[in-house]
């Protein structure tokens, strides 16, 4: 049966089951009917036999054959009775009344008082012979033969009826198989056809739900879900691969940047030092006085860019966090930031949330905060009254440092990309796109995080929040 279709299996199984039920069932029913009919005939035979046995005693004892024959003839005329014969105590036929003859050589089975019943065929029909002893068998036995044809006909009728039932059952079974084929086999074949094309299945195609049974529909739905998950996994795999490539590229760039920054940063420091020295000359020319600041700004911007690139290269390195009182940090940051803001036009508010300490890399936190403040200051410059606010707070587990501005804020489509490396909205040459990426890596290295808050900035622009683990004394 391996390899057979569902329809074929159902047809053969159903047919075998119907036969297995029909055959014994029909035989049993026929047997019950014929046995019941035979029992009724036997009872009739016993009753007649008892009457005859009573009536033939005296004629037999007195050898009154006329009276004896009269008794037998009367009984023989009963419906269904084919013969009535009398055997003497020696088993010899003594008298007989019959339509087609009496049975030859039908031996008595026993000499019990109860009538024994035997089935046999004689005279072209099936007969029942009921033997009744006369005077306890001392003077003979009465044998009454009754036709069983009616019982046989009833059995035949039952047989045809059950045959018709079998045919009906077969028809119902075939209809059921057809239904199964429609509801199970065909959807399964459709399912199989589509699954076999799975690697090449177009993205917009799914397994059709063709109205099968609940289980088949569930299976088709399951396959559709599986296909969807498979496609998602494939896409994720592809994205992961892209990210891996990008990360490796970034790593390579990082290494290159670190090398470049290192090579550039050292002479740059020397150049700045020389410039500071030249700027201290009281006899410098007016031209020098005009261009020295420009030169210094340019060199410092280069230095700052180099530091960012060095910071990006080193951001993956393990650092040992230290306990930093947040108040001290704020003071350092404020001193570091104020000179960088554009000639005091941008208003800087620093709000302390209370004395608490955090675990961090002091330099890294200062650098990250400076990046956030510089970005906030740049965004706030679009406002007529630019303002940047630094605010701290803490709870049981964390210390929070927020930098908010009253600039235009970050649009929804850019919110997911602001922390991506090399992502920038500034014009080319104005920013490397590494500030927020490096800051995030620095803060995450000590167990904290930076986020662009979903809630509206208290100043109406963007608000970045640094979260650091709270140090417990």
């Amino acid at each position: 049966m391996n390899g057979w279709s569902l329809e074929r299996i159902c047809v053969w199984t159903g047919t075998a089951s119907l036969f297995a039920i029909f055959l014994p069932g029909a035989l049993y029913a026929i047997r019950v009917i014929t046995n019941a009919e035979d029992a009724a005939l036997s009872e009739k035979g016993r009753t007649l036999g008892a009457v005859v046995a009573e009536q033939v005693i005296e004629p037999m004892l007195l050898d009154n054959r006329l009276a004896l024959q009269d008794v037998l003839d009367k009984v023989r005329r009963q419906e269904g009775v084919r013969y009535v014969c009398l055997k003497d105590s020696r088993g010899k036929l003594a008298a007989c009344a019959s339509a087609r003859g009496c049975p030859r050589d039908l031996p008595d089975r026993s000499s019990s008082a109860d009538g024994s019943v035997r089935r046999f065929r004689g005279g072209g029909e099936r007969l029942l012979d009921i033997a009744t002893p006369v005077l306890s068998g001392q003077i003979g036995r009465i044998h009454i033969g009754i036709s069983r044809e009616r019982a046989i006909r009833m059995g035949d009728n039952m047989l045809w009826a059950t045959g018709a039932l079998l045919a009906l059952g077969m028809a119902a079974m075939l209809c059921g198989v057809h239904l199964i084929a429609n509801r199970i086999a065909r959807p399964l074949r459709e399912l199989e056809r589509m699954v076999s094309r799975l690697p090449d299945l177009p993205a917009d195609e799914s397994v059709a739900i063709v109205g099968g049974t609940h289980e088949v529909n569930a299976l088709a739905q399951g396959f559709n879900d599986m296909i969807r998950r498979l496609r998602n996994l494939t896409r994720e795999q592809s994205e992961t691969l892209d990210r891996m490539v990008h990360t490796e590229r970034l790593a390579a760039i990082g290494e290159l940047a670190a090398g470049l920054a290192h090579e550039i940063h050292n002479p740059l420091d020397g150049m700045l030092e020389c410039l500071r020295y030249l700027d201290t000359d009281p006899e410098k020319s007016a031209r020098a006085e005009r261009y020295y600041p420009l030169l210094r700004d340019g060199l410092e911007r280069i230095a700052r860019t180099m530091r960012q690139m060095l910071g990006f290269a080193r951001s993956g390195q393990q650092v040992q966090p230290e306990v930093c009182p947040i108040g001290e940090l704020l003071t350092e940051i404020e001193l570091m930031i104020k000179p960088r803001l554009s000639g005091g036009r941008i208003r800087l508010n620093v709000l302390s949330g209370g004395p608490c300490a955090c675990l961090c890399n002091r330099d890294g936190l200062a650098q990250a905060t400076l990046n956030l403040v510089l970005n906030a200051a740049e965004a706030a410059e679009t406002n007529d009254r630019p303002e940047v606010r630094i605010e701290t707070a803490c709870d049981e587990r964390w210390v929070y440092l927020s930098v908010a501005d009253n600039g235009p804020g970050v649009s929804a489509e850019l919110r997911a990309k602001v922390f991506d490396a090399f992502f920038t909205t500034k014009p080319t040459g104005k920013g490397t796109g590494l500030g927020l990426s490096v800051s995030r890596q620095i803060i995450r290295a000590v167990g904290g995080d930076i986020e662009l808050t979903d809630a509206a900035s208290p100043l109406g622009g963007a608000c970045f929040r640094i979260r650091l683990p709270k140090a417990h004394s």
Binding site: L27, E58, L62, K92, A95, C96, S98, L106, R121, L168
Partner: protein, 318 residues
């Protein structure tokens, strides 16, 4: 669609027919073991009569009904036959005359008869006494004329114009004795009664009186005693209005020219029957204590009565 439906119908019908055929085959197989017996048309007249050759033909005159006689005497017949080393043929002739004729024609080897039968046979001399039964009450028995318990009849003379039941023309107590008595009383038995019926057995006569089918019946006292033992209530339903003098017991007789060896064997069998427990039990069922050697003198009273009857009756009774 139509082809699908047609295919379904055809296949279903085919399976139904196949199932029916298989079931019928199994039925036929199950019925295969039924024996086949030939039915033979036979006329009763053509049925061969069983041969009695080598068997002891034992007859019992029907003092009671045939079924009662057969049931009562079956064991006695069997035991006597076994004692003489033969299978038995139990013969129940329909009348006392038939018993006598069968004995005289040697169609019967031994018979238990009524006294009247013996009396009738004496003239021909072809029947001989073998043994006599001794009953529990002795060697004698009497004739009783009984009437229904509520009848006003007081004597035989009161039965004029009434109906009476006799048993058999050759019965001593069932016919001869009451007729002789009527003769003695000056009546003619042939015209005395309004109607006479012959029941064939004493027990039927007693039942006829008890059921008030007849006004009176002439019966055997031994049979009445036996019925009374079996059914004590019978005494309330009948009463005797006349009882005869005692007669000798109903004898066991054989044909006069019986084989002497067989005669000796039979006599010995009867005389020794009471010597074992089974024999005694069989005899007790019949109210017999034992069988004894016969004595013709015991029938002197009956013979005298019989002679009187023969001399007085000019014609046979209907």
């Amino acid at each position: 669609m139509f082809r699908q439906v047609a295919r379904t119908i055809i296949f279903s019908v085919a399976v139904g027919l196949a199932g029916t055929a298989v079931t019928q085959a199994v039925r036929s197989l199950a019925d295969w073991g039924e024996p086949r017996v030939e039915l033979v048309r036979t006329r009763s007249v053509d049925l061969p009569q069983p041969s009695d050759e080598g068997r002891l033909r034992f007859a019992v005159a029907g003092r009671v009904s045939a079924e009662t006689t057969f049931s009562g005497y079956r064991d006695l017949v069997r035991m006597i036959s076994m004692a003489v080393g033969r299978d038995d043929t139990f013969v129940l002739p329909p009348s006392y005359a038939d018993v006598r004729s069968a004995l005289e024609r040697k169609e019967i080897d031994v018979a238990l008869v009524c006294t009247g039968t013996y009396l009738h046979s004496m003239a021909a001399g072809r029947i001989r006494l073998l043994v006599q039964p001794e009953f529990a009450d002795g060697l004698e028995y009497r004739c009783m004329v009984i009437v229904p318990g509520g009848s006003a009849t007081g004597s035989l003379g009161d039965l004029r114009g009434k109906t009476i039941a006799f048993t058999d023309h050759e019965s001593n107590t069932g016919y001869l004795a009451p007729c002789v008595k009527l003769y003695d009383l000056g009546f003619e038995p042939g015209t005395f009664f309004r109607k006479s019926v012959f029941t064939g057995s004493h027990d039927r006569s007693i039942q006829a009186v008890a059921a008030e089918i007849v006004d009176a019946a002439a019966i055997d006292s031994l049979v009445f005693a036996s019925m009374r033992r079996a059914n004590p209530g019978i005494e309330r339903r009948v009463r005797a209005i006349w009882t005869s003098e005692p007669f000798g017991p109903p004898p066991v007789v054989v044909p006069s020219d019986i084989d002497p060896q067989l005669e000796r064997a039979l006599r010995q069998a009867f005389l020794s029957l009471h010597e074992d427990r089974e024999g005694r039990a069989t005899l007790a069922k019949l109210g017999i204590r034992r069988f004894i050697e016969p004595s013709h003198e015991r029938y002197s009273g009956a013979i005298e009565m019989f002679e009187k009857y023969r001399s007085r009756s000019a014609e046979a009774w209907p």
